[in-house]
């Protein structure tokens, strides 16, 4: 089966009161990771607004996907912008836990 990168990862950017929520649906891997960065770039979020990555619909993540999330975290940190990541689906959360990344990601407040 041949899938386009867009079929593989759906990215929805949603603006809420004090935050921008980025919904990831599908698979975040070597092929689709660049989409995440470009979606954030084109959303032009100002530094006062918190960025929340919602991983609940994400079915798969690999090390490249992790790197993409970590590099977003670093970018936000440089701009003193708040960055949070929701818990992921079992596979995603497993990788976040195994790699120790989950401990270093803030979970969003309600």
């Amino acid at each position: 089966m041949v899938m386009g990168v867009e079929d593989q990862l759906g990215i929805t950017v949603r603006r809420e009161a004090d935050r921008v929520v980025v919904d990831l649906d599908g698979e975040l891997d070597m092929a689709s990771a660049p989409l995440l960065q470009s979606a954030l770039d084109s959303a032009e979020v100002d530094p006062e607004t918190m960025v929340v990555l919602d991983l609940q619909s994400l079915q798969f993540i690999d090390s490249t996907g992790l790197r993409a999330i970590l590099s977003l975290r670093d970018q936000c940190r440089e701009r003193a912008q708040q960055f949070a990541v929701t818990r992921g689906s079992p596979q995603v959360q497993r990788l976040l836990d195994i790699t120790g990344v989950s401990e270093h990601l803030q979970t969003p407040t309600a």
């Binding site: 698979e27 891997d29 070597m30 079915q59 798969f60 690999d62 090390s63 490249t64 992790l66 790197r67 970590l70 670093d74 596979q91 497993r94 990788l95 836990d97 195994i98 790699t99 120790g100 990344v101 401990e103 270093h104």
Partner: protein, 739 residues
């Protein structure tokens, strides 16, 4: 006024002359005038011929003849001013209406007034002393065309029945001649309209008679058949036009004149449209034509009078079709081998004779010299000649023209007609010139063997004995071919190169062999995802770590390709160095973390699992220390197949500062198996069909019954089955079992 001649003599004389007149002209006005003139003065002082329209309408055409030219002229003018009323009483109108002849032996003034078209007409008749008239209908092919009137003026003898009979006889013959002239004039008009259409048609059309002479040709035919005008074609000797061309069938066999559809029509055949390849001998231009011929048949004899030939020029369509099938074939040849010289020889063989008579391929070798790698020609003698030429006069890279110039500039060259003077100037000496002349290239194309970033060489195509010369369409095809071949050669070269690099890198990523440890079985398995030369990713190692101590390493670097391979080599060798220095597992991982952080190209992400194993000897348990950095925990599988994860999750390396890892002590008893694996294993398969950790544990349950190598092979097979043969990440497995 008129001398009386014996009626019979006049009649015979008149009728003979009438026959001659009528055969001499097919022009309506001329014919009418000549017939009228015949009667004067022998039968009449004044003669008029009136014609009516087809629908029996207006009476219009008129011819007037008289010994008195002024009278004839005045009457014509009068008739134009006052046309005869077709429904009136004028004898002409009555004869036309009834189709019956009419004799007006004696015309009184009163009678003339009764049928005159107004007073002017009546005055005219009376003034000119109209005396006697005979009016005969002009009937031809069952249709009344008009009337012939003969008149006598003044004091002469009136007409009798015999005169009327003669007028009728004359009218019958005249009617036929007039009708013929009229039909001819109609045909002429139709023909003119038809010719206007044919002349302006874009398709070339010729009309050929049974002797092979062209009786009609339009402008398009003149252009197609290389004549200056349609007239030139029509004046040409039969068959001479075809001598200007080489006419071939689709397979390149020469066609004779009598195989052409037009000629075959005259042999009673009904030929199908013929596709011909037509080469203009003078210029070498090649065209593809469909020739259709249909007969013009004589309805009476059934014989073929003419062949109508329609030539449809389908050169563009045919070229495009040939080019596509040629390129498809070329792609097949190019894909058939990864050996570039073999590939290029295949291309040369394919080009001949399909697009050229000869083909040579030159490439620039690693020393920068131009090297001929392929040569092919229809004529084997020419191949030998070309080889002699290549041996004696191989072009040098800095030569100003020819192959070296095309390689340097990357621009193709078309020499549609090779200029003998230019050839002489190009030759370095007499022998060179003789060899070049011996090849007899009439037309040459040199196209760059172009790879995306550079020109690798050139493809030379020549036309010699086929008489063709290359066009811009041929040049376009040659450029496409050479570009496709260049890309194929470059990818074959790169593939070979990447394979070599992958092997070199692979050697740096994985240990060549695992150390022998007494009382311990050690097995490893590495399965790369994707192509063989997609290096990088997973690594494993087993190294001595002090007395009776061993270090087991497994790890995974984020990404694929050369950069990941570099990081993988860095990770493996950093850990080796750190182990030799006697660092603790935490220390070793810290060292690797810092090494990754300090990379010039920015941090790379890596996970690793380190297990130290202290083993005193056979039958003894081994003491393990498990330290995880972002890596899945190893499994200890006991004799019953029960698997337990060992170790505590720790931070992956290279991105998060500081790292947090923990050394966890555990034991491996004889009969137990330790399995280290990379994430490619549980991630094998797409989301709905992933191998998963649960399946992995189920697999481990079978482990005790299998020897270590078989166990790893089974795990690999299961993973591949879940992934339907297409792993999304590499899998590395490292297993240790105590005897």
């Amino acid at each position: 006024m008129t001398e009386k001649a014996p009626p019979r003599d006049i009649a015979v004389e008149l009728l003979v002359e009438a026959g001659a007149v009528m055969a001499s002209s097919l022009d309506l006005a001329t014919t009418m005038q000549q017939v009228a003139q015949l009667t004067v003065p022998r039968l009449a002082d004044l003669c008029t011929i009136d014609l009516c329209d087809d629908a029996g309408g207006a009476i219009r055409e008129v011819a007037v003849a008289s010994g008195d030219v002024g009278l004839a002229h005045d009457l014509e003018a009068l008739r134009r001013r006052h046309p005869l009323d077709p429904n009136g009483e004028h004898p002409v109108a009555r004869v036309i209406a009834s189709g019956e002849p009419m004799l007006l032996a004696e015309m009184s003034d009163m009678l003339m007034r009764s049928f005159a078209q107004g007073s002017e007409h009546a005055r005219f008749m009376i003034e000119h002393r109209y005396r006697s008239a005979a009016v005969a209908p002009l009937v031809a092919r069952g249709r009344t065309l008009g009337a012939l009137s003969v008149l006598r003026l003044g004091d002469c003898e009136p007409y009798c029945g015999e005169d009327l009979g003669l007028a009728c006889e004359l009218a019958r013959r005249a009617a036929l001649a007039i009708d013929n002239a009229r039909l001819y004039s109609e045909v002429r008009q139709v023909e003119q309209r038809l010719a206007a259409i044919l002349v302006n048609l874009a398709e070339a059309i010729t009309l050929m008679d049974a002797r092979g002479r062209m009786v009609f040709a339009n402008q398009a035919a003149a252009e197609l058949l290389q004549a200056s005008s349609p007239e030139e074609l029509m004046q040409a000797r039969p068959g001479s036009i075809m001598e200007r061309f080489l006419v071939l069938d689709e397979q390149g066999r020469e066609l004779a004149l009598d195989q052409m559809p037009g000629r075959r029509l005259f042999k009673g055949e009904r030929p199908q449209p013929l596709l011909v390849r037509n080469v203009v001998r003078a210029t070498g231009e090649e065209r593809w034509l469909i020739v259709r011929s249909s007969p013009v048949i004589d309805p009476e004899s059934g014989r073929v009078l003419f062949a109508v030939n329609v030539f449809e020029n389908i050169t563009e369509v045919k070229r495009a079709q040939l080019a596509e099938s040629f390129m498809a074939e070329a792609s097949r040849v190019l894909a058939s081998s990864m050996d570039y010289s073999e590939t290029l020889q295949g291309i040369a063989r394919l080009a001949v004779p399909q697009i050229a008579d000869g083909c040579a391929v030159d490439v620039v070798n690693e020393h920068g010299e131009i090297e001929r790698v392929a040569i092919h020609h229809r004529d084997p003698a020419m191949v030998a000649l070309a080889q002699r030429l290549d041996r004696g006069y191989r072009p040098a890279p800095q030569d100003p023209a020819g192959v070296p110039e095309v390689i340097r500039s990357g621009r193709p060259r078309l020499y549609a007609e090779v200029d003998p003077d230019a050839l002489a100037a190009y030759a370095t000496d007499n022998e060179h010139l003789e060899l070049l002349q011996g090849i007899g290239a009439r037309s040459v194309i040199i196209a760059p063997l172009a790879a995306p970033a550079r020109t690798l060489g050139a493809v030379t195509l020549i036309c010699s004995d086929s008489g063709r010369s290359f066009s811009h369409a041929d040049l376009a095809l040659a450029v496409r071919l050479a570009r496709r071949a260049g890309t194929a050669v470059e990818s074959a070269r790169l593939y070979t190169e990447r394979n070599r690099i992958a092997h070199v890198l692979g050697a740096a990523l994985l240990p060549e062999s695992l150390p022998e440890v007494p009382g311990v079985q050690i097995e490893a398995l590495y399965r790369a995802a994707g192509e063989l030369n997609d290096v990088g990713g997973d690594f494993y190692d087993v190294l001595p770590y002090g007395a009776d101590r061993w270090l087991l390493v497994i790890g995974d670097v984020c990404g694929k390709g050369p950069r990941a391979a570099g990081v993988t080599a860095l990770a493996r060798h950093t850990l080796r160095a750190a182990a030799m220095l006697g660092q603790t597992p935490t220390g070793m991982l810290g060292t690797l973390h810092r090494a990754l952080r300090s990379q010039p190209m920015g941090a790379d992400l890596c996970t690793a699992s380190l297990v130290t194993m202290c083993h005193a000897g056979t039958g003894q348990p081994a003491q393990l220390t498990v330290t995880l950095a972002g890596h899945p925990p190893p499994l200890v599988i006991d004799e019953s197949g029960q698997a337990t994860q060992v170790g505590r999750p720790g931070t992956l390396l290279g991105v998060i500062d500081p790292i947090d890892v923990a050394e966890v002590e555990t034991q491996l008893r004889p009969g137990q198996t330790l399995l280290l694996y990379t994430d490619g294993l549980p991630e094998a398969g797409r989301s709905d069909h992933r191998l998963g950790e649960r399946d992995l544990l189920a697999l481990c349950a079978q482990a005790p019954g299998l020897d270590l190598a078989a166990m790893l092979a089974r795990i690999e097979q299961t993973a591949l089955r879940h992934a339907q043969g297409k792993l999304r990440d590499d899998i590395a497995l490292l297993a240790v079992r105590l005897c």
